[in-house]
């Protein structure tokens, strides 16, 4: 009888240990799976010779009275590597802008006010995006996503990642991932199938007061050459006025850049 009891006790304990180990193992597998999905998406974007996409976004802006206000924007983004970029922007207040990079200069046209500014910049799309964000201090939402080193950037940024679920309510089934970085948390929905491209992203600025969010839905992805029509050169409309970029110099002073661009 004692022997039978011992077998039963050992059996129960073994079953218990095995079963408790499963969720941990499963979580690790999910994390690895999530990381692979994210990296696969980043590589797909980085390796694309060209692409166009519609980005419908919104973000929260905290007001002085503490109220959080949401603003919208729609961007038609076209990238033709190595050195062509075009962004057509329309904000929720009706303001329309165009940004064009042709490999030699960056030109921003405010359609609403019919003014434009240009800056000389020779280089790739990657260089242009970095220049626009870092030097011209112009917001380019999800800028890292459109650069070819996005995969490496993610490697550095991501501290935690989880596979949330398979979302069946997006236009195609998407993998929903939850990612944590030092500065922000973000969720991303990536299409399953041969083109693992993002369909939605929600970024939470967890270190900022009120934890505002940026949300964007991606649609009309087109990775074929025919889908990227440009134009990547810009001819100022009649009566358009050229104005300077105002850039911050090394001593921290805001100054109008010389005609021809902010160096």
């Amino acid at each position: 009888m004692k022997r039978v009891t011992s077998f039963i006790v050992i059996g129960i304990l073994s079953a218990f240990l095995w079963s408790t180990a499963q969720p941990v193992k499963s979580a690790e597998m999910d994390d690895r799976k999530a990381r692979n999905i994210l990296q696969n998406m980043a590589r797909t974007l980085a390796e694309a010779k060209q692409f166009s996409v519609t980005l419908r976004s919104s973000y929260d802006a905290l007001q002085e009275n503490g109220q959080m206000i949401e603003f919208w924007a729609v961007r038609e983004i076209q990238v033709k590597r190595p050195d062509n970029l075009r962004v057509d922007l329309e904000q929720s207040d009706g303001d329309k802008r165009i940004m064009v990079f042709d490999g030699k200069q960056i030109l921003v046209h405010n359609v609403t006010e019919n003014v434009y500014a240009e800056a000389e910049k020779v280089g790739s799309v990657d260089d242009a995006i970095k220049y626009v964000v870092d030097v011209l201090k112009t917001p380019v939402p999800l800028a890292k996503m459109f650069r070819t080193n996005f995969s490496a950037e993610l490697e550095q940024l991501v501290e935690e990642i989880d596979y949330v679920e398979l979302n069946m309510l997006t236009d195609v089934p998407t993998d929903h991932l939850a990612v944590r970085t030092r500065d922000v948390d973000f969720q991303i929905w990536i299409a399953q199938g041969k083109d693992p491209l993002p369909r939605r992203i929600v970024i939470t600025y967890k270190k900022s007061k009120g934890e505002p969010q940026f949300r964007a839905d991606f649609s009309n992805w087109n990775l074929s050459a025919k889908g990227v029509k440009g134009p990547f050169t810009f001819t100022p409309p009649k009566n358009a006025e050229q104005i300077p970029f105002i850039v911050r110099n090394r001593s921290g002073a805001d100054i109008p850049a010389q005609k021809g661009g902010a160096k």
Binding site: S19, D60, Y205, I246, D254
Partner: protein
């Protein structure tokens, strides 16, 4: 009595194991936001309209908290100071930029303070040690000289420039002939 002991022991172990197992499952699911049915976003409802600040860290849509190109007056409160050690060259560069930005902001704050003390009011002009500018047309009187529009407001002249993705109006000298 002696023959009942093994069954009681098995029952106790079984109950303990099941309880612990269920607890670990709940915890595991909790960590993952509810497993397959997890998720659930936060609401973001709000109204748009004029007179509201469009700035803040979320306006940049970046993967960091630093707002790109937002004028100081339109920024949301500054992010908390990072205390972590930089991890690589980019981080060091970022830290240096941040320090430089803080120094500039401090200088700017001192400038703003002295301006306010002198003027007795805050006139919504932004000074960064260079040109002063405002984010809205300062007046409606315009003069076009050599295809450039100038705004003549009292004794001051303004011209338009592009800053942080927006058109701003910066103080300039009077155009030739004025």
């Amino acid at each position: 009595m002696k023959s009942r002991y093994p069954f009681i022991l098995i029952a106790v172990i079984f109950v303990f194991c099941m309880t612990t197992f269920m607890a670990s499952m709940v915890e595991a699911r909790g960590d993952r936001g509810g497993g397959d049915r997890g998720g659930g976003g936060r609401g973001g409802s709000s109204r748009g309209g004029g007179g509201f600040s469009r700035g803040g860290p979320a306006a940049s849509g970046g993967f960091s908290s630093r707002p790109a190109g937002q004028s100081r007056a339109s920024q949301a409160p500054r992010q908390e100071t990072r205390r972590e050690q930089p991890r690589d060259r980019d981080d060091w560069q970022e830290r240096r930029d941040e320090i430089r930005e803080n120094i500039n902001d401090a200088r700017e704050d001192r400038q703003d303070f002295s301006d306010n003390e002198r003027d007795g009011y805050y006139d919504n002009h932004h000074h960064h040690g260079g040109v002063a500018f405002v984010t809205r047309a300062p007046c409606s009187t315009t003069v076009v000289v050599a295809n450039s529009t100038y705004y003549h407001c009292g004794s001051a002249w303004y011209s338009r420039g592009y800053k942080g993705g927006d058109v701003v109006y910066f103080v300039t000298s009077a155009p030739g002939g004025h």
